[in-house]
Amino acid sequence: MSEFLLAAAGFVLAMTALGLVRALRGPGDADRMMAAQLLGSGSIGALLLGGLGIGDRSVIDVSLTLAVLAAFASIAFVTFAPRDADRDEAP
């Protein structure tokens, strides 16, 4: 079972790496910001699988911290221009 979980962690990491290559290529900032979002779910998944795979339950608390802070970078990204940060123009 432990080996299966570690293999799954490796698979999730590999998928994250592939997506990362695409996201970091851009072209726009929004595409690059996706890399942060991708790594958020990817690293939490890999961390849980890998940590429980090696039998370390305290990774759950690490993942919880990451989950609380997951949206943070994206929020920083949209609050650059304070005036129009969150206002949605009429379609």
């Binding site: 900032d29 958020g40 939490i44 609380v68 929020i75 990204f77 969150d86």
Partner: protein, 102 residues
């Protein structure tokens, strides 16, 4: 019973990994920013949810299991919001006709 739980872990984790694969394929194959964002923020969350489901029997007890579920809910919350926020930023950039940043 233990066999049934192990089976649950195998099936759910494998299914979760599949959705990570799906999300990555979407990210690689979809043509523009908004569709890629869609693939990323939907599929990966489902994948994480299935992985959490599969790991529940391996959590130490009820408290750890609840924390696992909380992680999933928090990631869904932040992913849904971040997806919207990034999409709006992308649309603003498109409206400005901003050239892609170097």
């Amino acid at each position: 019973m233990s066999f049934a739980l192990d089976l649950l872990t195998y099936v759910a984790v494998a299914a979760g990994a599949f959705f990570y694969l799906a999300g990555t394929i979407g990210l690689l194959r979809f043509p523009d920013t908004l569709t890629r964002l869609h693939a990323l923020t939907k599929a990966d969350n489902l994948g994480l949810g299935l992985i959490v489901l599969g790991l529940l029997p391996h959590a130490g007890g009820v408290a750890d299991a609840l924390k696992l579920v909380a992680i999933w809910l928090l990631v869904m919350l932040s992913s849904a919001d971040a997806g919207q926020l990034i999409a709006r930023a992308a649309r603003r950039a498109m409206r400005r006709g901003e050239p892609p940043a170097p």
